[in-house]
Symmetry: C2
Subunit: 134 residues, 2 copies
């Protein structure tokens, strides 16, 4: 069911400084920052040969990463996103086996304009899992 790792998301308190660290210290190719107010984050993409890292900074009130940064003020790995070909079939398979889908259980349109779901980290050993239909 799981396809590619679409991205690993890292929440950071200072996107400018984090972008500089990935670009200048680690020598990675980074995008310009993109504000996604409807998702409550500003994102910089770190492009790697086989996947990407998304550096996320809170944007606006009620950002979905604000609580995480409250607990982890320095930042940290926030979630991992796997690609699936049929998100409703994936959801039904997971729910039948006891996994909990966050929110109302229906896919939403994610930051890449594609349907996404998030799975409860307690069902995956502390890791917040995003599924994205590609």
């Amino acid at each position: 069911m799981l396809g590619r790792v679409n991205h690993v998301a890292i929440a950071v308190p200072d996107l400018t400084a984090a972008t500089a660290a990935y670009r200048d210290m680690l020598g990675a190719t980074v995008s310009a920052p993109q504000a996604l107010p409807q998702h409550g984050v500003t994102v910089v993409f770190v492009e790697l040969p086989n996947t990407k890292i998304e550096l996320l900074e809170p944007l606006g009130a009620g950002s979905p990463i604000a609580a995480f940064l409250g607990k982890n003020p320095s930042g940290g790995m926030h979630h991992i996103c796997y690609e699936v070909t049929d998100i409703l079939a994936a959801r039904d398979h997971l729910v039948q086996r006891g996994a909990r889908v966050l929110g109302n259980g229906e896919p939403k349109i994610g930051a890449h304009g594609k349907p996404v779901l998030f799975l409860h980290p307690k069902d995956f050993f502390g890791t917040l899992v995003e599924l994205e239909q590609v």
Copy 2:
């Protein structure tokens, strides 16, 4: 400098249960568990089309993931490993720019039999970064 994401490592308190969740709930291809006593972990590889996830359970006294699981008893994303072609050149580039290498600063042979280094998570916004020469 950064190449492919070699793996994302997830520390878990119960490798059997975590393996079952990735295999049965997420429908991923998982390896048999491999005990790596010299690295203080037992590992299961979750094979994905573009990279892999490593599920790590502590093995023996002084496991390098024991403290992490002490703070995160349910488990969680522990580190991300990037490939580099020349680990000594990468280290020197990083150190010149102020990054701190864990341990004595010299590469060690990692769990895949290749030279690795770990970078201080405080220099990378809460993310423990491993570099592996491939």
